[in-house]
């Protein structure tokens, strides 16, 4: 509690130390606002992409069988194990100026999406896998015996049951994406108003000695994190409502 609570308290203190007006100024300065919009927008986009691709990946890992599946399953955790700065560097190597396949998205917004896809890849996959595993295949068989096509079965039977898994994965991915720093530092070039995300903006403010400004934006990110954490709890509560 001490370890976590105190620093956060100091953060809030500093953020409000210059008064609420200056808090607002710091947060709504053109650069800060641009960074926040970019951060939230990119994170949302990536989270939704993850919802689809992550669910497909989880489906393939649970329902399909092929040689090397264990290996593929293990790779999913790579973003957890690899330092974020290294992740950024590897993405730069393949999709940057020295790309062997001719794709160069360095210093563009596409690079942000790419880096965020990397670091958030495991989240939806890992939250959907256990739910999919638990799902009784007999439910789908029952639906088929009652005449439902494969798509209808997925839509009416599978999806409602795995939705909580997808949603909590999306929330986790969003929280991670909003605060992501290391993987973005190199590949995006951190161009203000174009490819600068909030975490980088905060870093810039610290280096310039504007701790209050940094703290103000940081508190906004903190708020987003809190809300996301709460929603994950709510999703979990909602998901188990039929079992009570």
């Amino acid at each position: 509690m001490v370890i976590v609570g105190l620093p956060l308290a100091a953060l809030v203190w500093e953020a409000t130390s210059q008064g609420s007006q200056s808090f607002w100024d710091a947060v709504s300065s053109p650069e800060a606002a641009a960074a926040l919009k970019l951060t939230v927008g990119a994170s949302l986009a990536v989270s939704l992409l993850n919802a689809v691709l992550g669910t497909i990946t989880a489906w393939v890992l649970i329902r399909d069988d092929f040689r090397g599946k264990t290996l593929v399953n293990a790779i999913i955790d790579l973003p957890f194990a690899l330092p974020t700065i290294v992740a950024g560097l590897t993405l730069l190597a393949l999709y940057g100026p020295t790309s062997p396949v001719g794709i160069d998205v360095a210093f563009t917004r596409a690079a942000i999406v790419l880096a965020l896809m990397f670091v958030t890849l495991p989240f939806v996959v890992r939250t959907v896998q256990p739910v999919l595993q638990e799902l009784d295949p007999e439910l789908e068989e029952a639906a088929q015996s009652l005449g439902a096509s494969t798509t209808t079965t997925f839509r009416r039977i599978v999806l409602p049951n795995i939705l909580p898994g997808i949603l909590s994965g999306v929330a986790l991915a969003f929280a991670k994406a909003v605060g992501e720093f290391g993987s973005l530092v190199i590949i995006t070039g951190n161009i203000p108003f174009k490819t600068e995300v909030s975490s980088v903006h905060i870093y810039g403010r610290i280096e310039s000695g504007d701790s209050a400004g940094a703290a103000a934006v940081a508190v906004v990110l903190l708020g987003i994190s809190f809300v996301t954490l709460l929603s994950i709890g709510a999703i979990r509560h909602y998901a188990t409502r039929h079992d009570r």
Binding site: D136, A143, N161
Partner: protein, 318 residues
């Protein structure tokens, strides 16, 4: 609708689940697939439903080849041992599912669902969720759900296996009554011979993936075609060279042709029945069942040596 099973074979890896099984299911009858665990009976049922595909053989539904037809198109109702209830839907929505999927008009669906809920006596449970129902109620819902789209065949996979004994016998009785009203061709899988004997018109006994015998309960009991059927349907024990049922042994005070000498080891009086346990010369156990009146009439006592004579026995070539 008649079901014709022709030379069905299925294996899972090295395990042979079904070996050249052929069966003719009478239209409108209540047929049991009876056998021990792992005998292949559930696999056969699932093949009829289209939930598994056979390696060899054919399935004909109403004379038409349905072997590779998807389950959605077969118009069979399937009831699962563990209910497979759609737990995120109400009871009402569960039962309505098959009709909604067929895009029937709302009024028609409402009428049919209410009719079925009444039939299975769940009329006041429509708005509840499966988690709020008891096991027996969930299975009745499962039946209503399977019957809603008016299937031509009703298949039940150990439908009462997950329920406790009292509920099981209630529902068993109830299934028979339902069948008498609804008259749809019904096939159910069970490992419980009492259940099969009690309610089915015809029983197909399956063991190790092979069909042992098909017949009415009476035929199976009186004229078993193999040692397995005799010991599985009713009890039987070896006595000398043949198999004899406990009810088919008479105890004599004097030696007689074909009778085996044995000593009465224990007598248990269970209600109106007497269970007499004997040991023969080699110490092997012989079980005899008779009415209590008969036993008391005979005046035998524990420790006495008597002669056990089979009244009805069968010999099967090895």
């Amino acid at each position: 609708m008649s079901i014709l099973v022709k030379n069905i074979s299925k294996r899972f890896g090295d395990f042979v689940a079904l070996d050249d099984v052929s069966l003719d299911v009478e239209s409108g009858a209540l047929t049991a697939l009876l056998g021990p665990s792992g005998s292949g009976k559930s696999t056969l049922l699932r093949i009829i439903a289209g939930l598994e595909t056979p390696d060899r053989g054919e399935i004909l539904l109403a004379g038409k080849d349905a072997t590779v037809l998807a389950p959605q198109k077969r118009n069979v109702g399937f009831v699962f041992q563990h209910y497979a209830a759609f737990k995120h839907m109400t009871v009402w929505d569960n039962v309505a599912f098959g009709l909604k999927v067929r895009k029937r008009p709302k009024a028609e669906i409402a009428e049919r669902v209410d009719e079925l809920l009444n039939l299975v006596q769940l009329q006041s449970f429509g708005h509840r969720y499966p988690a709020q129902l008891s096991g027996g109620q969930r299975q009745r819902m499962g039946l209503a759900r399977a019957l809603a789209p008016e299937p031509q065949v009703l298949l039940l996979d150990e439908p009462f296996g997950a329920l406790d004994a009292r509920v099981r016998s209630e529902l068993r009785e109830w299934l028979r009554q339902l069948h008498d009203v609804v008259h749809v061709t019904t096939v159910f899988v069970t490992h419980d011979q009492d259940e099969a004997m009690e309610i089915s018109d015809e029983i197909a006994v399956i063991n190790h993936g092979r069909l042992e015998q098909v017949g009415s309960p009476r035929q199976l009991y009186d004229e078993p075609a193999s040692e397995f059927v005799m010991t599985f349907v009713g009890d039987a024990q070896p006595l000398g060279e043949s198999l004899v049922r406990p009810h088919d042994i008479e105890l004599l005070a004097e030696p007689a042709e074909g009778a085996i000498e044995a000593m009465i080891v224990r007598v248990t009086l269970l209600g109106r029945d007497a269970k007499v346990e004997l040991h023969d010369a080699s110490g092997a156990e012989i079980l005899v069942l008779m009415t209590r009146d008969r036993f008391e009439e005979s005046g035998y006592w524990r420790g006495q040596t008597v002669w056990a004579q089979p009244v009805r026995e069968r010999v099967f070539s090895a």
